[in-house]
């Protein structure tokens, strides 16, 4: 793939690994039975995500998503589910906060290895109009934990 480097950071935004998660999303589907079922929409751009997860002994044992959206929102959903699956819910929450910091341009957050593959999305921070796309799935995750708690 050749990306014209004279254009601002397009190469940083559309990295191979992001496009791979977009074209072949992980954890796409439904969780049955589930403890939370969250539907979030971004009314300004129409991105939407439906996120379901199951929690056993405080651990997210299964998580999956469906929905429509741009490459960034879909790749972020795919990476997020990969990252929090099998982890204690509380750890996932800390990652959500870390990821949000990274999207707001906090350098230390972008260096945090805990974020794993999701760090490739740090380039999105340079495209303010797209930050909300990357954050949607993490917001859905936090919303799902609240729902599971009730």
């Amino acid at each position: 793939m050749s990306i014209d480097r004279s254009t601002p950071d397009l190469g940083g935004l559309y990295q191979e690994v992001i496009l791979d998660h977009y074209k072949r999303p992980r954890n796409r589907g439904e969780v049955d039975p589930h403890d939370a079922d969250v539907h979030l929409r971004n009314p300004t751009c129409g991105d939407e995500i439906r996120l379901q997860l199951r929690i056993e002994d405080g651990v997210v044992t299964d998580i999956a998503f469906t929905g429509d959206g741009c490459s960034i929102s879909q790749a972020s959903s795919s990476m997020m589910t990969d990252l929090v699956k099998g982890r204690p819910a509380e750890e996932g929450l800390a990652l959500a906060r870390r990821f949000t910091e990274m999207m707001h341009g906090v350098d230390e957050a972008a260096k945090d290895k805990q974020l794993g593959q999701a760090r490739v999305l740090q380039g999105v921070a340079k495209f303010p109009a797209r930050v909300k796309c990357a954050l949607l799935s993490w917001e859905a995750y936090q919303e799902a934990l609240k729902q599971a708690d009730r």
Partner: protein, 414 residues
């Protein structure tokens, strides 16, 4: 900048009159193709606005002093210019508003409130902008009226074959856009109006996307209300107008109360001024109206035929270039005779927001999303589209750059 021989428009000279176009974005000359959302303003309009505030600024109608007289003359003169622009017979039935949305809300509230009852039907189309949908939904909820819809065909044209079924003895109003903001379709407004009138209904036309591009003649169309916005045709944001047939406007009750709209005021009640002032409560946007008149002057100076000719060149060139992009699906009528130079499209494997980001990185401004027509997006079976929309200052070179940008989208996402 290439100037096509077929058009009499001197595009290079036109472009020099738009200061905002002369800038680089992402290191390249800006290509502004988001005119459907809002157009840019020529220097003549910006000068008129500035001149009003620098020389003539005062409140209208009440003042005896010189500046108030000048402001009033400017404001009322603008009303005459709007009437001329629409070929409306009577400036007194032109009401200034914030724009198309407010114009339609005015009709829904003032006319709708006085005339719509439970069981009445209002006919709309599935291609309406939310501004010509939500006010009618709100009216229907208040009154118990029903909304009925004219569908579109596969090319995004209204299905006139449905009219026999949709128009009934209960139809009170038929409201539709002159030109679709999401498809570019030019609707057969005169025919629709005739059919609606045959059914005994009134007709409101949303002219937001038509006024900048096509010749509008409310008498030839025969409609009862026509609404448009200044900001899509070179005037500032926050000014627009509603024209209504005089005998209907004379009967409209006020919809907002306040200064300017009264005759005699007691503590417990008041009598109201005649139209148009009855429908213009509060201090109006005088500077905006003066600038709207300047935009009309400017457009007519350029020449409506020259504008339509140039935009037709852009339309044909753009359709040809976009059809050459693999995996691109162009929405709207296949024939250039039935549309304006708005290019709504979807690309295989690439979401509109990604298309918009990549084009932005090439200095090309387009719009991605539902374009305030969510029901239409569902009808088309897409979550969103990408839309490039032209105005008279765009060039075929710019459409070439659009096509090149889309080739990069293909390289990244194919």
């Amino acid at each position: 900048m290439s100037i096509t021989a077929a058009s009499a428009l001197d595009v290079a000279s036109i472009r020099r009159q738009f200061p905002v176009l002369d800038q680089d974005v992402s290191g390249r000359p800006l290509v502004y193709l988001d005119n459907g959302a809002t157009a840019q303003r020529p220097a003549a309009v910006l000068d008129a606005l500035r001149r009003f505030y620098e020389m003539d600024n005062a409140n209208v109608h009440r003042g005896i002093h010189e500046l108030s007289r000048r402001a009033t003359d400017g404001y009322e003169g603008a009303r005459v210019r709007v009437a001329e622009f629409l070929n409306a017979p009577d400036p007194k039935s032109v009401v200034f508003t914030r724009g198309t949305t407010e114009s339609i809300n005015l009709v829904a509230n003032a006319w709708g409130g006085a005339n719509i009852r439970a069981g009445d039907e209002i006919v709309l189309t599935v291609m309406e902008h939310h501004s010509n949908l939500i006010p009618w939904q709100m009216l229907a909820q208040r009154t118990g009226a029903q909304l009925r819809f004219i569908d579109i065909d596969e090319q995004g044209r209204l299905r006139l074959d449905m009219l026999d079924d949709v128009l009934t003895a209960r139809t009170r109003l038929v409201a539709f856009n002159h030109v679709s903001n999401s498809l570019g379709t030019i609707n057969p407004v005169a025919e629709l109006t005739r059919r609606a009138h045959d059914a005994g209904a009134l007709v409101l036309i949303d002219g937001a996307q038509a006024a900048p591009h096509v010749h509008v003649d409310v008498q030839a169309i025969g409609c009862d209300f026509y609404a448009f916005s200044g900001h899509k045709m070179g005037a500032p944001m926050g000014i627009g107008a509603l024209w209504g047939r005089r005998e209907i406007m004379d009967e409209l009750p006020p919809w907002m109360g306040g200064g300017e709209m009264v005759d005699l005021v007691e503590l417990s009640h008041a009598t109201y001024a005649p139209v148009p002032h009855r429908l213009e409560a509060g201090t109006p946007n005088v500077g905006g109206a003066v600038a709207l008149a300047a935009a009309i002057d400017w457009l007519e100076g350029v020449g409506r035929d020259a504008i339509e000719g140039h935009e037709n060149t852009l339309l044909r060139h753009g359709m040809e270039r976009l059809r050459g992009v693999e995996g691109l699906r162009l929405f709207g009528p296949a024939s250039p005779d039935e549309r304006i130079a708005i290019f709504p499209f979807a690309m295989d494997g690439a979401h509109p927001h990604d298309v918009a980001t990549i084009l932005d990185a090439h200095g090309i401004a387009i719009r991605a999303g539902h374009h305030c027509t969510q029901p239409l997006m569902r009808r088309l079976g897409v979550p969103a589209t990408t839309r490039a929309s032209c105005w008279l200052y765009n060039t075929t070179d710019e459409l070439d750059r659009l096509a090149e940008g889309l080739e990069e989208v293909r390289r990244i996402f194919a």
